[in-house]
């Protein structure tokens, strides 16, 4: 029964893609058909995910037509896969609804049939990827996902930046795939089977060197896709280049497939490893989170900013995972469960609010035709709903209560705190809180970044005529954003619903259900058996908090209304007596300046000031200021590597110099060498 639902998901996406493509002559119809099928499939996927997570069952199919020996499961949907299907479906539901309105701007300019096809194939690949029961299917859909998303990134290929972004993306992702492939091959070689299920039986008994090799390979491989620093360089290029609905999917869910793959291999198949794996992942996560948010602060293209926040949030997810791996390495399943729950919950939360924010960015672009924050301003009055939803997303991503980001970050904090107090090693006891401090810094910087993002875009006066003429976007786009905004709040208030869904997942992976230790109530309550019995458990009650906040607000409002008797008057903003113009407003760049200066040793900012003088030194005619952050990793890592590669290739070209005598010489030498060496 559930397997039929799964086929329905895939089938709808396939049909949607094909119909959309074949209707490309009628763009409007093609658009409607394509996204309607995606919506239908998303609904089915949501139901599928929830059913499997609630029952805790695993459904699978046989290998079917697959002919490779050692392949018995085509698809296998266990709770872990179902959870990711749920994440994909929830986000794609909202994004597909959003797309109805959003994609209209492409009518007449681009091939909408192609968009519909690639969009549906992209979704199909992601769903099928997480449901894959063997490594071949996994790689197949992994590459298909990359290819489809590449097609979507270069959708607007008239722009050369887009093409370059697409190229960097596809190359990086392909190199990442190489590592995954190698890891899978090592697994195949030892297990003699392509099936994850089968591998999982052997994985735990592998020699530790082997396991470490596989672990490192998948870390690099999936890390590239997930965008951990320093493998992230494609991410801030590709996400802004794609249409916004696609960016929402890429950032919201595609990155998560890498997390899925990592969990599948490292936690499910290998069953965890030594504790230093966890420390490595934790460190990588921390570096990504910190650098990601710092780079994000320096951007004034809204989509680049959001893209760097994906790097940050992947870092946070990895911090939870790293903690889980450490505990798993020490054989403490309950504690591992907390880290894992934090990571998975953050996967869901990040998917929701990041997709929401990217849709918001898309809506703004739709209305203003620009992504440059310096050109916006005052949009909240012109686009009240978009603004409201963007605010919800901003609060969520800044991890502020009572929204969902707070809860998963709280869980991450808890697992880091436990790292500080559990009897592991002194090193870890100190490292845990230090990483916690880094997470706190990340959170605070993220808040700063979203004050900037929301404040500069939506508040004060418009900074350009495009912004001044912006209009609210069509209803379908608002509905798409609204769904996710509501979910952000609901998961923030009722995190236990997510905990309940995650129960079979953690039970399967670390052998300890999340309900058991986190409680199935309206509050979260890590009952950690290692710690002394206290009169106060560590817990938060988001729902209670929300009620108190709401009642408090009502009360204060009522009371203040009664107090005093001054009226309200609308007047100008005080500006030292002058008239205020939008040019005087704080810009995104100036907003981030204190942070740029504080972290100058890390961010390596550079500035160019060109002054043109009229008469003497004191009479400036014009002043041009340019500031940028040095692309550190490109400069020290990627560009030199690329240059060496190209240079060596260029030298190799001399082999084919055009001289037939030389060519005959090759033949001659080959023969002589073979005659001597291989006789």
């Amino acid at each position: 029964m559930t397997i039929l639902l799964f086929y329905l998901v895939l089938g709808l996406l396939l049909l949607g893609g094909l119909f959309a493509y074949s209707l490309q002559g009628k763009p409007r119809l093609s658009l409607r058909v394509g996204f309607s099928f995606a919506v239908g499939s998303a609904v089915a996927g949501t139901v599928l995910g929830i059913i499997i997570l609630l029952t805790g069952d695993t459904v699978y199919t046989g290998a079917g037509f697959a002919s490779l020996p050692g392949m018995n499961r085509a698809f296998l949907i266990d709770p872990l896969a179902a959870f990711f299907i749920l994440v994909i479906s929830l986000v794609s539901l909202a994004v597909s609804i959003f797309s109805f309105g959003y994609a209209e701007e492409y009518i007449g300019r681009h091939n909408l049939g192609m968009l519909g096809l690639l969009y549906n194939v992209f979704l199909l690949a992601m769903v099928a990827l997480v449901a894959s029961g063997n490594t071949f299917f996994f790689l197949f859909f992994w590459e298909l996902m990359s290819l489809a998303s590449y097609g979507l990134v270069v959708y607007d290929h008239r722009d050369s930046h887009v093409r370059r972004a697409g190229f960097v993306y596809i190359v990086m992702t392909h190199i990442g795939t190489l590592f995954i492939f190698l890891a899978f091959l090592l697994l195949y070689q030892t297990a003699g089977s392509f099936d994850f299920e089968h591998m999982a039986q052997f994985g735990r008994q592998l020699p530790s060197g082997f396991k470490t090799g596989i672990f490192l390979l998948v870390t690099v491989g999936f890390g590239t896709k997930a965008g951990i620093i320093p493998l992230h360089i494609w991410l801030p290029k590709a996400h802004p280049a794609a249409p916004s609905n696609v960016s929402a999917l890429m950032s919201g869910v595609m990155l998560k497939t890498a997390i899925y793959g990592f969990i599948r291999v490292v936690m499910d198949v290998l069953g965890g490893g030594s504790a230093w794996w966890g420390i490595l992942i934790l460190s990588l996560g921390t570096v990504s989170a910190l650098l990601g948010v710092m780079y994000a602060l320096m951007q004034h293209d809204i989509k680049e900013l959001l893209a760097y926040h994906s790097v940050e949030n992947i870092g946070i997810i990895l911090m939870g995972l790293g903690a889980a791996l450490i505990f798993q390495g020490y054989g403490l399943p309950v504690l591992a469960m907390i880290g894992l729950t934090a990571a998975l919950f953050h996967v869901l939360n990040h998917a929701l609010f990041k997709a929401l924010l990217f849709m918001g960015a898309g809506a703004i672009h739709h209305a203003t035709r620009t992504r440059d924050m310096e050109k916006m301003g005052g949009l909240l009055k012109l686009m009240p709903w978009t603004g409201f939803f963007f605010l919800v997303g901003s609060i969520s991503i800044a991890a502020l209560p009572p929204f969902n980001g707070f809860v998963s970050e709280w869980l991450t904090f808890q697992s880091l705190l436990v790292l500080g107090s559990a009897p592991l090693s002194l090193k870890l006891n100190i490292l845990g809180p230090v990483f916690g401090g880094a997470l706190a810094l990340t959170g605070a910087l993220a808040a700063a970044c979203f004050v900037k993002a929301f404040g500069i875009q939506f508040l004060a006066q418009p900074r350009s005529t495009q912004a001044a003429n912006a209009k609210e976007v069509p209803r379908s786009m608002l509905v798409g954003m609204g769904i996710l905004a509501v979910l952000c709040l609901v998961l923030g208030i009722f995190p236990s619903s997510a905990i309940q869904l995650l129960n079979p997942v953690t039970l399967h992976l670390v052998g300890y259900g999340s309900i058991q230790a986190l409680g199935g109530y309206a509050w979260l309550n890590p009952q950690i058996p290692l710690l002394p019995n206290l009169s106060y458990h560590t817990m938060i009650a988001p729902f209670v908090l929300f009620v108190v906040l709401a009642l408090g607000a009502l009360l204060v409002y009522r009371v203040v209304k009664r107090l005093g008797h001054g009226g309200t008057r609308i007047d100008e903003t005080w500006n030292c007596g002058g008239t205020l113009s939008p040019k005087m407003e704080y810009t995104a760049t100036s907003f981030a300046k204190p942070i740029r200066i504080i972290f100058r040793r890390i961010l390596l900012p550079k500035r160019v000031v060109e002054t043109e003088y009229a008469l003497g030194f004191h009479f400036t005619r014009s002043l041009k200021y340019e500031g940028a952050v040095k692309p550190f990793f490109e400069d020290i890592l990627y560009r030199p590597a690329r240059n060496v590669f190209l240079k060596v290739s260029g030298k190799m070209r001399l082999l084919q110099s055009g001289s037939i005598h030389l060519y005959l010489g090759y033949l001659f030498i080959t023969l002589v060498v073979l005659l001597i060496w291989a006789r």
Partner: protein, 317 residues
């Protein structure tokens, strides 16, 4: 029922005492500066004056500007309900989590910073920008000492931490304890917007941080925000005082008779005023720092906190 009563009592105490504490600090500062200074009741008078005034809204602002005072005040108020100030036995103490408290402060700050940007004047923007930058680098320095205390107590629930401390869960006045306290105290200065990080008395546009964000507010909204700021200061003092020196606080172990409560109130008031005196001394004896020296200060505080953590872990063995 008792818990509800205790919580309401604590809240009323905070509402009443917070402006007084500010008044007292100002008075002490004036004393050190050989001035007479305003009355200790001046903050009450200010607030009641603001309440009588007409509210002037900038034409450029949006609803964010209007709801910010409420969000700010309510967030601070909720912290008041959950924090162990006079007692650890509030009705909401069970959810009085360390992170919850810090992030509710962050929520308040988030909205205030947005409101600073909303009017479109450069002062508000500058203030928001600096506030977010300073608070961001203060965050790890704030968290690390609290982590140390939470690890020591075995919980991140503040009431739990206070109880553990009060009943000998952790030896007080050790080097680790003191280092951690000093580290947190330095952050407390930044969080309450005092010299050498910020100057609460100035409206000089180039040096202000906090005041810049309030620049456009008037009337009732200003009253709410001002009261909120007073309360926030008191809450930070409460964190400093109760986590490190919880003696005298009313808890299930001490019982909740009226004398106990009274002594708890007095003890807390004394601790808060004591901290206020120290603050006042620091404020009068130092000059405000350049903005970009602040990170060095906070870095120092972070390192101190780290030392505290390390010595705690080592001592525990």
């Amino acid at each position: 029922m008792l818990a509800v009563g205790l919580t309401i009592f604590q809240m009323l105490f905070v509402l009443a005492f917070a402006p007084l504490l500010s008044g007292i600090i100002n008075k002490i500062k004036a004393y050190f500066q050989s001035r007479r200074g305003p009355s200790v009741l001046q903050p009450y008078r200010d607030i009641s004056k603001y309440l009588q005034k007409e509210t002037v809204l900038s034409e450029h602002t949006s609803w964010i500007f209007r709801i910010t005072p409420y969000v700010y005040f309510v967030a601070i108020l909720v912290v008041t309900l959950t924090l162990p100030i006079l007692t650890t036995f509030g009705v909401l103490s069970f959810t009085g989590d360390l992170f919850m408290v810090i992030y509710l402060f962050a929520l308040a700050r988030f909205f205030l910073a947005l409101a600073g940007l909303d009017a479109g004047s450069a002062f508000g923007g500058m203030a928001s920008s600096r506030e977010m930058a300073v608070s961001a680098i203060a965050e790890p320095a704030l968290m690390l000492p609290l982590f140390t205390m939470a690890i020591a107590a075995g919980t991140s629930n503040l009431s739990g931490m206070v109880e553990q401390m009060a009943h000998g869960g952790w030896p007080a006045l050790t080097p680790a304890h003191l280092m951690t306290f000093v580290a947190l105290f330095v952050v407390g200065i930044a969080e309450t917007g005092r010299i050498p990080v910020d100057n609460p008395d100035t409206h000089l546009e180039l040096t202000m941080i906090h005041e810049g964000m309030l620049l456009e507010y008037s009337g009732k909204q200003l009253a709410l925000l001002t009261l909120g700021v007073h309360i926030k200061q008191l809450l930070i003092f409460a964190l400093l005082a109760n986590i490190f020196f919880p003696w005298g606080i009313a808890s299930p172990a001490t019982g909740f008779q009226v004398p106990t409560l009274l002594s708890a109130t007095l003890a807390f008031a004394a601790k808060a005023i004591g901290l206020g005196v120290v603050m006042a001394v620091i404020e009068t004896s130092m000059a405000k720092m350049r903005l970009f020296k602040v990170p060095d200060l906070l870095m120092g505080s972070f390192l101190l906190g780290l030392l505290g953590l390390i010595s705690h872990v080592l001592l525990r063995g």
